[in-house]
């Protein structure tokens, strides 16, 4: 069982988002970067599967050298090896193309991603990657079990859940309930120093998009406070003033 887990290096959830260079670049000053939380769940689930039935877990990231602390952390959590494709992750299409080029040469049985990255919220890499590899994709999974070359998964659908079975290989994207994240222990952190982290150069040159600028939402006009002893007024205001109920 060979599992590939795709990792994004993203700003910590407590980050106050600001931009530089005339609102064209995300301001990384003072920002703590972490493994994208959904990718961390995908990684942990991959480890649980290989611990039970044998196999290896490879973590892959498309990013520059500054992503290496997060990649190294995947090794500390338990990945066997890691790959960094040395490029700025321009957009989902570019990232999927780079990972597809690598995955084609390695024949993975299962590829896991997070359901989206918490910075650009695209949620597209899994589907793009699966199509580029010509294999099925199942998104927003909350459980996965693998047996005899078949994966059985539960996924979120709009307004409910769906149970899906699919023969390997496939790409699946992790949703919150998949598992609980693992904190690396000291042995893992020591071992991570000597595990292989391969740096691969970019292949292909299809550029499909460019981010031309960012903007922060306009500040709210100020809260209208309703006295606690007249709380029932809220309903009247929502009906007649805000006109939302």
């Amino acid at each position: 069982m060979k599992i590939l887990v795709c990792i994004s290096n993203v700003p910590d959830t407590t980050t106050k988002v600001t931009f530089t260079d005339n609102n064209t670049k995300f301001n990384t000053a003072g920002v703590q970067f972490i493994i994208n939380p959904y990718d961390e769940l995908a990684l942990t689930r991959a480890l649980e599967i290989t611990e039970k039935q044998g196999g290896t877990v490879t973590a892959i990231n498309v990013g520059l050298a500054d992503a290496e602390p997060s990649i190294r952390k995947t090794l500390a959590i338990g990945a066997n090896d890691a790959v960094r494709i040395n490029a700025e992750p321009i957009d989902a299409y570019f990232v999927a193309e780079q990972i597809a080029a690598y995955a084609k040469s390695e024949q993975f049985d299962l590829i896991l991603t997070g359901r989206e990255s918490i910075d650009y919220n695209g949620g597209l890499v899994g589907g793009l990657l699966a199509e580029m590899l010509g294999i099925p994709s199942v998104n927003v999974i909350t459980s996965i079990e693998v047996e005899n070359g078949v994966a059985t998964m539960e996924r979120d659908i709009d307004g409910g859940k769906e149970k899906v079975s699919c023969k390997l290989p496939l790409v699946a994207s992790a949703q919150k309930e998949l598992t609980e994240p693992r904190i690396p222990n000291m042995r893992g952190i020591m071992a991570a120093r000597t595990k292989p982290l391969k740096v691969v150069e970019v292949s292909g040159d299809l550029i499909t998009s460019a981010t031309v600028g960012f903007e922060l939402p306009a500040a709210k006009g100020g809260v209208k406070l309703i006295p606690a002893d007249q709380a029932e007024q809220l309903i009247e205001l929502l009906h007649n003033e805000a006109k939302v109920i």
């Binding site: 979120d156 409910g160 109920i245």
Partner: protein, 323 residues
């Protein structure tokens, strides 16, 4: 030509589908081209024809026994084959779980640039630029798609439906599918009935740790039911298993954009605000006057939720009874 994927559940189009059709019809109109809608799976002809009212010039139905249940590989292949046959230049899907399940696959097939979470029409004065939410709503990004074909996954409850009153031309296509295109199998589908799915809700009543325990959620559910709202919760509440994970809104949960978001006993941490800040009207009820939520809210009540909720519920019941 602008092509739209018309998502259906059990033979019915969703509100987000009608929004997508009107959005695409608007783009088609301003470009002097046609809006073609693709429906996959079984939908009655009357419902297909009704899409003309929302702006469809033509509706292509792709249906077979195997397509009754959603399948990402097969649906994406059928949709992309119609896109190629019709010569689509812009492809529109809803930014829902099913929409996104096919969006990436379709983009890869068409070698098309793709943007998801789109909240604007395309601006074409300098390229093809759309605005999307990023950082779970903490900011917006303007993205220029530079390929010949573009795929847009548009955010539900962002664009209005419009009445175009067209008569749509109904046709069918086979989607170029064979048995080999159906690799994954849907084993079982369970939808929550009688409750409004959070991702599609126009009104949301949400509560946090201020409720002190899961046994106190009765009044939250009752208020939601009276208003016709969905229920949601903060991260600590779902982490403590007071409420299911599917109700968790915020940066690591669901990002929502309802018309009304009522936050009860939620302080308003930056991660939570990220997931709800695009709501049109926000109400915060919290006993701490310093709670950050009051800075993001339109209406606020500084009070213990247990003191004011009965009054609010009572007023909501009276309003509903009178209307």
């Amino acid at each position: 030509m602008i092509l739209v994927y018309a998502e259906s559940i059990d033979g019915n189009f969703k509100k987000s589908t009608l929004e997508a059709v009107s959005y695409a019809a608007g783009i088609a109109q301003s470009n002097g081209t046609q809006c073609v809608v693709v429906s996959i799976g079984h939908v009655d002809d009357a419902k297909l024809a009704d899409l003309g009212n929302y702006g469809a010039d033509k509706v292509v139905a792709v249906n077979s026994a195997k397509l009754v249940v959603f399948n990402a590989e097969a649906y994406a292949k059928a949709f992309a084959s119609v896109a190629a046959a019709e010569g689509a230049t812009v492809v529109v899907v809803s930014n829902t779980y099913s929409g996104k399940a096919i969006a990436g696959r379709v983009a890869a097939k068409l070698k098309a640039g793709i943007a998801s979470g789109v909240i604007s029409i395309p601006y074409t004065s300098n390229g093809f630029v759309v605005r999307k939410s990023v950082f779970s709503g903490k900011a917006f990004a303007d993205v220029n798609l530079t390929t010949a074909i573009k795929v847009l996954a548009i955010t539900p409850n962002t664009f209005d439906t419009h009445t175009f009153g067209k008569t749509a031309n109904l046709t069918t296509a086979d989607g170029g599918l064979s048995d080999a295109d159906f690799i994954s199998n849907s084993v079982e589908i369970s939808r929550v009935t009688g409750k409004i799915p959070l991702t599609e809700a126009e009104l949301v009543v949400s509560a946090g740790r201020g409720m002190k325990g899961p046994e106190h959620w009765g009044i939250i559910e009752e208020l939601a039911q009276v208003l016709g709202a969905a229920t949601a919760c903060s991260k600590p509440v779902s982490d403590m298993h007071w409420r299911p994970h599917s109700e968790h809104v915020g940066q690591t949960g669901i990002t929502i954009k309802p018309n009304l978001y009522i936050a009860i006993g939620i302080s308003g941490a930056i991660q939570h605000l990220a997931g709800v800040s695009s709501s049109k009207v926000i109400v915060a009820i919290n006993k701490d006057p310093e709670a950050p939520f009051f800075k993001a809210a339109d209406y606020g009540i500084v009070a213990d939720a247990f003191d004011v909720l009965p009054k609010i519920l009572d007023a909501a019941k009276k309003l509903k009874a009178a209307n």
